[in-house]
Amino acid sequence: MMGELIVRNLLHRPLRTLIGVMAVAVEVALVVLIVGLTSGLLTETAKRIEGIGADIMLQPPAASIFLGFSGSPMPIKIGGKLAELKYVQAVAPALLQFNSTGGVDVVYGIDRDSFRTVSGGFVFLEGHDMEGPDDLLVDDWAAKAKHIKVGDTYNLLNHDWHVAAIIEHGKGARLFVPLATLQDLVGARDKASIFLIKCTRPEHTEDVMDQIRHDLPGYTVRPLKDFLSLMTSTNIPGLQTFINAMIALAISIGLLVIFLTMYTTVIERTRDIGVLKSLGADQSFIVRALLTESAALCVFGILAGVGLSYAVRAAFLAGFPTLSILITPGWILRAAGIALAGAIFGASYPAWMASRKDAVEALSYD
């Protein structure tokens, strides 16, 4: 009976119900998408870096795990020293350059041969490896997003490049150019942003890292297999605060709309509340009815919000194929829990107000 009462009440004012549902849907979608976008980008970036195939990455002192934002590059001759270390099979220098023209990218300047040794080489979907100084390798996702084909001329960093190949994604960057050309282009001759190190065996990684720490104190040494665990929002300064602020904003939207919806509901149903009291409904019945109604509205909002999240993700990915939005069951459940708690909290005052209404006054309400 309570279920019938709630469903019929929700259907009685379809527009108001729809607004409430949409508010919760937006709340849920905001939480799911903001977290999905940040964690998706971080995870995808980390997977690409792990996918290079090296065992260790060396960066300058105090370097960020966001590779494109790292500071002054290191002398290329460090690579020679690294190659002499015990258990080191190969060392590949790379100069990383942040590019914001035509999208946000980190361009890898690589030495073709050493990068191939360290990473095991690219998988070529079309075209051939770097041969000339202006050859550009583009991964399949970037090629799709930027509509690039093999043989095209592509302007990057104010330089015209010849698209030599479309490669399979997952090897660190989406755009690769010859190291020497990039060094000249950005004025970093004989410099490298990172060194990728391949050990003779993976179990020698710790030994090699210890040697590097000893020989190059202060430099940042990271095992690539741990990159995924490092790429979290808590490790990025300010990111977690931003996410929390966005979640708080989303909760506020849902809470305020639910509050307003239930408040107007209670005012509109003043007489009905008086009737229920005349029938012997106690305060807990009134509170339960309104909170359950709010929760039911919220459940519809959660379902709509999950659908909206997937729809927005599909739309984003259609427009921006290089984006990665990670929608996880864990965060859907968390967003649902947050929305449900917000809906119950938002409806609490109106429900309490309704339960305290004087029955006689309520019955004479017009």
Partner: protein, 248 residues
Amino acid sequence: MGIAATIRAPAEGLFFQGKKSVEPILKTENLWKLYRAGKVDVPALRGVNFEVQPGESVAVMGPSGCGKSSLLYVIGGLAQASRGKVLVDGNDLTSLSDAARTKLRRHKIGFVFQRFNLLPTLTAKGNIAIAQFIHGDGFDPHRFEVVTQMLGLAGRLHHKPSELSGGEQQRVAIARAIINEPKILLADEPTGNLDSKNSEVVLQMLRQLNKDLGQTIVMITHNPEATTYFDRVVHMRDGIIVDGVPAD
């Protein structure tokens, strides 16, 4: 100090053959009800003494503002008395908390209002069933069928209040009020919003409930003709009962 007036007891054997009881089902003693208007207390009831026997039907008449509705709300436990006693089936409402009065109302009182007061979102069936739900014993299909058949609602149960005539709405309200077999049915001008034909139907049904099922009824009315359906008529004025005479 209020003016108390005790209604005249009905002549033995005249109205309640076979129904006489040693204990009244409803009794008020020096009942006062004050409403706060700004800084002034306005008395709505000023020392009402009133008794209703089980199975009796009583009509309360009086001009607007004489305290009829206040009396109904206080004896129904919807409003708290300011002074005096209200005994419903032996329970003193004035000594009960709001929660206890609500519980007593749930089990012993049924209300019928002038404006029907059906829940607009529910069907006729839902409006009746919700009373059973609140009562706590769940839906009793047999009782439901008996009541709806008796009130001629069988074909209208799936309609919402907005799809029912005034007479039908009031019959649904009566069904809702009696579905849990309350000790007392309190009706606040139940024919006030009805035309004469529907008024007669509703009054006949109330009389049928009283005569056939022994339902105790207290009804407020402005309509002198309506009182002819009741065992006894009580007149109120200025918050007191001025007399209590058997109906013709």
